[in-house]
């Protein structure tokens, strides 16, 4: 008798003509609204990337009144050296991803599976950092980078971006929670078969954790691509800066059409990743809320 697959509207509701019309309207509204508002600006950027400056300024909404200007893209790539900044962005993102993953999995494993006596304290200390707003870290972390406890300044060194990115309590807690929910019998079985902790980690736990690894990867990579203030502060040398940091700095020296092409190029990685791994993205977005709840 009860509809398992229902929301506010029951199957019965949906049969009504008023509701059907209403739902079609909703579809139109959603589709139109989301396409225009969500996709619109991005599509515009794609169009503008191959439009000449004059056209963009005088007729911003028109579609290529004087033809497509592919030169913008090559100019951006070669003359403005977007290729170099693009590469920097990729290197930084990959580094952040690997460091974050490595740290989150080893820490989660230690806290969840191995659980030495001091795990409780560590867990609490990590949890506590979640409640500290990131603003508090800004200045002292910067000074730590300039004067690290060992060695010289880490300015212009990618470690200055990778290591703080890895110190992410949220990722660790996500992974730990996931590991907590793994069936302990599998571990017991592996242990009785003689697997040591490292073997257990590598060959049993990690392969079982693909979903959470995907989620943490998405978080890490997106966080890296979104970062602005921190890389701007610790990577003052333009040669090592990622796109996000470089683009605002060169805006006044680059022609508008080339600049828009550069902006468009810098959206390629995130959009491609998103389209390719949509489900992982959306799951991690939803998970963000569920875990916080």
């Amino acid at each position: 008798m009860s509809d398992t697959d229902r929301g506010i509207l029951s199957t019965f509701d949906r049969r009504g003509r008023g509701v059907r019309a209403g739902m079609s309207f909703v579809h139109v509204l959603l589709f139109g609204g989301l396409v225009v508002a969500g996709l619109g600006p991005i599509l515009w950027l794609g169009k503008a990337a191959v439009t000449s400056t004059q056209d963009t300024i005088t007729q911003p909404i028109a579609l290529w009144p004087h033809g497509i200007d592919w030169a913008n893209l090559t100019q951006a790539w070669f003359e403005v050296h977007i290729d170099q900044y693009f590469l920097n962005t990729v290197v930084i993102a990959v580094g952040s991803w690997l460091f974050s993953l490595a740290l989150a999995t080893t820490a989660g494993y230690g806290l969840s599976v191995l659980r030495p006596r001091y795990a409780g304290i560590l867990n609490g200390a990590v949890l506590a950092t979640l409640f500290v707003p990131s603003v508090v870290l800004l200045v002292p972390l910067y000074l730590t980078i300039v004067h690290p406890p060992v060695g010289q300044s880490l300015l212009n060194n990618y470690l200055a971006v990778w290591l703080p990115a890895a110190a992410n309590a949220f990722n660790i807690l996500l992974v730990k929670r996931f590991f907590d929910n793994l069936p302990r019998e599998v571990f017991e079985a592996a242990r009785t078969d003689g697997a040591g902790p490292i073997r257990l980690f590598w060959s049993i736990v990690l392969p079982m954790s693909r979903p959470i690894l995907g989620v943490v990867s998405v978080f890490a990579i997106i966080a890296s691509l979104k970062d602005y203030l921190w890389p701007m502060l610790v990577l003052p040398d333009p040669a090592v800066q990622p796109l996000g940091v470089r683009l605002p700095a060169i805006q006044s020296q680059v022609e508008l059409d080339v600049f828009l092409a550069a902006l468009a190029i810098s959206t390629i990685i995130p959009i491609v990743l998103f389209l390719a791994f949509q489900r992982v993205f959306l799951r991690s977005a939803g998970l963000g809320g569920a875990v916080k709840g």
Partner: protein
Amino acid sequence: MKRTPLTWYRGGGLSNLLFLTPMIIVFAVFSWSPIVRSFVMSFQKTNLITTSWVGLDNFENVLTDPLLGTAVVNTLYFAVLALIFGFPVPLLLAVLMSEVKRGKGVYSALAYLPVVIPPVVAVLLWKFFYDASPTGVFNTMLGWVGIAPQPWLQSSASAMPSLVIEATWAAAGGSIIIYLAALLSVPPELYDAAEVDGASVWRKVWHVTLPQLRGVVFIMLILQVIATAQVFLEPFLFTGGGPNNATVTVLMLIYRYAFQNSLGGNYGEATALSVMLAIVLAVLSFAYFRVTERWSST
């Protein structure tokens, strides 16, 4: 059993350390000690070479900064506007999306796309859209419906709302997805029960959907306030704090104290302000959770 180094080793102590040491070191250097250091530095004055204790001087200087009042008001303004624009719209869209039979995936992807775009790109793009001349993108579109060109970022009255609109666009997708997940986990039996009582669509929403969402909504609310209290990127890249300090936020002030002066920043005052902000947010969160605890069902 006596705990000796040998028993520790045999108990797997070494591999425990192996797995936990990276975390301990990284957190110690890049998380825990900076947090502690922040509190310490707020009582000091440093130029990177010599450091001295100055007691409450930094706090005093910050509190007497004429720009602080402006920054606080602006930050609150941003937070309130962000709540007004950024709260109901994603919720409504999520409710609508949860009800469509087909296309949830496409709609979710469309909604989430702006979230994926790096904020710097979004801001620079919207900065162009906000061109105040009559041929600016938005002004052109307003012209189609007969509205006069707006100053957008060029007037203190409209600068902050312009920032909030872009910020909402960029963040709405994330909220939509979270609400959608929550909506889809509402037990259908509740709706069945409501219908038995003769509830219309609106009453179902009011009496079933919204109460079920209460937990998620409360969390999202406080998270959004905490995030908007630390807004930096939008004012920095859109207007640099102008026009006439209309978009200077607390984080921008902290940035100015620490990093704006090419001759050396005032790190003590910057950390003092950060600490004060953190305390305010902590108190706010604490009070919030106490209040909502009384309202929540669980």
